[in-house]
């Protein structure tokens, strides 16, 4: 039994450094940890990601270690995609559903070595994992507190990490993994992230966390490195078009009201569903959905004007409500006013005229506009450096 800890919020292993850097003292709770909303200036932090390097403490993300002879079979049963295609040393994005085909969560699966995986996700799901593991030979360990992690993201991120001594990092392909000795221990570096840019995630045992922070910021100084808070990351991920659990969908186990959960198809994640790989949880329901049609369509919209369509209703040409925006932001690098939106079927067809109902206040005078929305096909922000190997220096 772990000892009592009566504190409201915990610090991550980077806590001492994060506290020192968080000049704005704007914090929010994230899975029981104190997490900065912004350190100094949200705008500078966002632009660090797009122009230099932003560093984000992602330690509170839920992390499970899944290993054993049946680990791959288990994950293939759990997830909708073919996990067998994620080779050792590679990382894959995945979703998992309940029997009704409703999304429980999304996350990244790290194939550390043959039969040894780390699942990294926003929500906790140990109860579901253990239930799904019945009859299989594997172990599942919650290692959230045992692994500290920093996202190091932006055009100079590779240069900064190389300056820290991670030689040859430029050769690491997107969704690849590498290990480096560090501080008498080991760093794991993956070319992954939540910003849609060139970037890495660095994983380390808590005992080496402060040393990592110090080494990284010392090495990155000339590469204009800066810590970033949740606000900057949120903007970057909307610009990248990524969805977030609890924001763009309600994890199915948390849903109280009938019909509020979403399937992968209803979140635009069709490409993650592989019906040819054999059985997986939710397969029957998803096959039915494919045959009978979905209830919702998830879209990325470019909204006319520059006012974010936050919490906006989406209207059709006749002014009827056909959906709502789940996330929205003016995206400074893509120069688009992006809204992620959930629409009722059949709305959101190419021919549909859609409008976002946006309320704005200027000096206590509220105005309401119906801004035309255009459906975005393809990525919103996709700089070549994101995929280039070797990674460019800046």
């Amino acid at each position: 039994m772990t000892p009592h800890d009566d504190r409201m919020l915990l610090d991550t292993p980077f806590g001492s450094r994060v506290q020192a850097a968080c000049e704005l003292r704007e914090w929010e709770p994230w899975k029981g940890y104190a997490s900065p909303i912004a350190y100094e200036d949200m705008e500078l932090e966002y632009f660090a990601v797009r122009n230099a390097t932003g560093v984000f403490d992602l330690t509170p993300m839920t992390k499970y270690r899944i290993g054993g002879p049946d680990a791959a079979a288990f994950l293939n049963r759990l997830m909708t995609r073919d996990v067998g295609k994620i080779r050792p040393g590679r990382v894959g994005y995945a979703v998992w559903c309940n029997d009704a085909g409703m999304v429980l969560d999304d996350g990244t699966l790290f194939h550390l070595s043959r039969g040894d995986y780390r699942l990294c996700a926003q929500e906790r799901c140990l109860d579901w994992l253990l239930t799904s593991a019945l009859g299989l030979d594997l172990t599942i360990v919650d290692e959230t507190a045992e692994v500290a992690a920093l996202a190091v993201q932006g055009p100079t991120s590779c240069a900064a990490l190389r300056a820290m001594g991670l030689e040859g990092l430029e050769a690491l392909r997107p969704f690849g993994l590498r290990h480096y000795p560090f501080d008498g221990g080991e760093l794991m570096v993956s070319r992954t992230g939540f910003t849609g840019d060139l970037g890495y995630e660095v994983w380390v045992a808590p005992a080496h966390a402060e040393a990592l922070w110090d080494a990284l910021f010392a090495a990155g100084r000339n590469h204009l490195i800066r810590p970033m808070g949740n606000a900057a990351l949120e903007l970057a991920r909307i610009e990248a078009g990524f969805i977030q659990a609890g924001v763009d969908f309600v994890p199915a186990e948390q849903v109280v009201r009938h019909g509020r959960a979403r399937s992968p198809f209803e979140l635009g994640l069709d490409w993650l569903v592989d019906f040819d790989k054999g059985h997986f949880t939710g397969r029957g329901a998803l096959l039915r959905e494919r045959a009978e049609g979905s209830r919702f369509r998830f879209l990325r919209l470019d909204v006319e004007g520059n006012k974010p369509a936050s919490e906006s209703f989406i209207l059709n040409k006749r002014g009827e409500t056909v959906g709502h925006a789940t996330s929205a932001a003016w995206c400074p690098s893509a120069k688009r006013n992006v809204a992620l939106a959930s629409l009722e079927m059949p709305w959101g067809r190419p021919e549909d005229e859609l409008y976002a109902e946006i309320y704005t206040s200027r000096e206590l005078r509220w105005t309401r506009v119906e801004a035309r929305c255009r459906i975005i096909d393809g990525p919103i922000w996709d700089p070549p450096r994101r995929r280039q190997t070797p990674a460019p220096n800046f």
Binding site: P3, D5, D6, A100
Partner: protein, 541 residues
């Protein structure tokens, strides 16, 4: 025989539902009289200074179920009611540790994980599933249950609403609901959790006030009954009425008086006067008669029909139904004046867990064994307690630095196997509870200045609750909705014209909710062809 003036309506009993009912009738312009047997109003929603300087909520002790629509509509805040929320709970374990049910979700996760990581992960699913059921029932609290045998448009509409609420939960939701409403709290919790102390902690709400064990079918619903209230829109939250639970009754009484209603205390109704098949007034034990066009009983159904009527004035079937009505006493109460704040299992006085409900039963096994004693006709030798120290939040109930402790105790039978309760047996019961608390609190016994011990005998004798049942009748499925208290009387109308029920023995049941009082007023006003003044439910969004 003294003859008094004629009233439009007489309400028997100044409990919170009687006062609420009277307030709505008075608001509608009726000339209303409330008659109370005790020298004070409130029934089981009462604050009493039984030890100088200390106020005891000596029956009900926390507030959540009180319908916010009624509280607002009757301006209870203006009339003196303030409910201060508290959150969470703690169960002390025999090994000197505890499980803290922290109000903050993440700290609760951490605390649950300390006992079982898997349980901490299952809690989200448990909470979502209970919330589904809570949402289902909440929309029917301020509504008269439809009569399933009736073809009146009103009943048909009500039945359609009931059916659509169930079907609105989806196929799985419907099946889950039927299971939930009929299963035991122990079985329900076993489906989610593995930790003994976590299950024991969460099971308490399934048996409080109920003469059933944690593995008795129907107790899962009782849990819901404790989760369906709210404080300021925070569903499931509980709070302290500032000044004790008497503040609820006092505010209702003030609201009633502001509408012109009248309350007479020390007026023990002996009999409902029946003339030409309709209720015509009441006669007190001292022979005083009060006449009225209609009579409303806030008393439980058993007491109402078996003690306040000549049996010959009632249909025999109703007398039989009242006899069969299940209203078994299961709980007792200790109200304790303390010279200071006790410490528990090493919990620091500044811990947020000191502001919560506290318990000492750390397994379902012990919960069930406590019930076994009740079945054998004795109080639990290892009882389940629901204990709070309201003075950690409310500065009005004891002198500064001193404290008041309210200890709800289960199980405690209405009569003992070897005969009725005696003062000696009552004291022995109290000592059992004190000894149990002292197991977890080294300084507790030394701090006791005064202790009021109440068994079901006192609850019946002093408050009027038959067998000491705090809910005016068991909250089992056979006595809920259109079966509460029993078919034929489930829409607040009694078996005689001009006679109504408004107590917790009617839908939606026990607790300081005021919904039965308001629902009964709605039916009475409809019968009088007067506009409905009772508030509609807030939308269930």
């Amino acid at each position: 025989m003294k003859r008094m003036r004629q009233y439009d309506a007489i309400v028997i009993g100044a409990g919170h539902n009687g006062l609420c009912n009277a307030a709505y009738l008075a608001k509608a312009g009726l000339d209303v009289l409330v008659l109370e047997r005790n020298p004070h109003i409130g029934g089981a929603s009462v604050s009493r200074e039984l030890y100088p300087g200390w106020t005891y909520s000596n029956c009900s002790y926390v507030c959540s179920l009180l319908r916010p629509e009624i509280s607002r509509d009757l301006e209870l805040a203006k009339h003196g009611l303030q409910v201060v929320p508290y959150h969470g709970g703690v169960t002390f374990t025999r090994d000197g540790d505890y499980f803290g049910n922290y109000p903050d979700a993440e700290r609760l996760y951490r605390e649950m994980a300390r006992h079982s990581l898997r349980d901490a992960n299952a809690y989200e699913r448990f909470e979502a599933d209970v919330t589904k059921q809570t949402r289902l029932i909440r929309q029917f609290l301020l509504a008269t249950p439809p009569d399933p045998t009736s073809v009146k448009p009103k009943d048909l509409k009500g039945l359609i609403e009931l059916a659509s609420a169930f079907t609105g939960m989806g196929e799985e939701g419907l099946l889950d609901s039927v299971r939930f409403w009929t299963m035991s709290i122990g079985d329900f919790l076993d489906e989610y959790f593995e930790s003994d102390v976590i299950k024991a902690h969460l099971s308490g709400s399934g048996v409080i006030g109920t003469a059933l064990g944690v593995y008795s079918p129907g107790t899962a619903y009782v849990l819901l009954h404790h989760y369906m209230g709210e404080v300021d829109g925070n569903v499931g939250a509980w709070g302290f009425a500032r000044g004790g639970m008497g503040a609820v009754a006092n505010a209702l009484a003030n609201s009633l008086r502001a509408c012109g209603g009248e309350i007479i205390c020390d007026a023990d109704v002996h009999r409902v006067i029946v003339e030409r098949g309709r209720a015509a007034g009441v006669a007190l034990a001292d022979g005083t008669e009060y006449r009225a066009k209609l009579v409303v009983s806030n008393l439980d159904p058993k007491r109402t029909f078996l003690k306040c009527f000549d049996a010959s004035d009632l249909p025999a079937a109703v007398v039989e139904q009242a006899r069969n009505f299940k209203i078994r006493g299961s709980s007792g109460k200790l109200n304790i004046a303390l010279d200071g704040l006790p410490t528990f299992n090493g919990l620091s006085p500044g811990s947020p867990l000191m502001l919560t409900d506290m318990h000492c039963t750390d397994s379902l096994e012990r919960m069930e064994r406590a019930y076994d004693d009740w079945k054998a006709g004795t109080w639990s030798k290892d009882p389940y307690v629901d204990m709070l120290i309201p003075t950690t939040v409310d500065p009005t109930m004891a002198p500064p630095g001193k404290h008041m402790m309210t200890v709800f105790v289960q199980y405690c039978p209405p009569t003992l196997a070897d005969g009725p309760w005696t003062p000696e047996a009552r004291d022995a019961f109290g000592q059992t509870v004190i000894d149990q608390l002292a197991e977890h609190s080294p300084n507790f016994k030394d701090l006791i200045l005064d202790c009021e011990v109440r068994t079901p005998h006192e609850l019946e004798d002093e408050v009027g609750l038959t067998e000491g049942n705090i809910f005016h009748g068991e909250l089992t499925f056979d006595q809920l909705l259109f079966n509460r208290p029993f078919p034929g009387c489930a829409q607040y109308r009694g078996p005689l014209r001009g006679f109504y029920l408004c107590g917790s023995g009617t839908h939606p049941g026990g607790g300081v909710m005021a919904a039965p009082g308001a629902n009964a007023a709605r039916e009475i006003l409809a019968d009088l062809k007067r506009p409905d003044l009772t508030p509609p439910s807030y939308p269930n969004d």
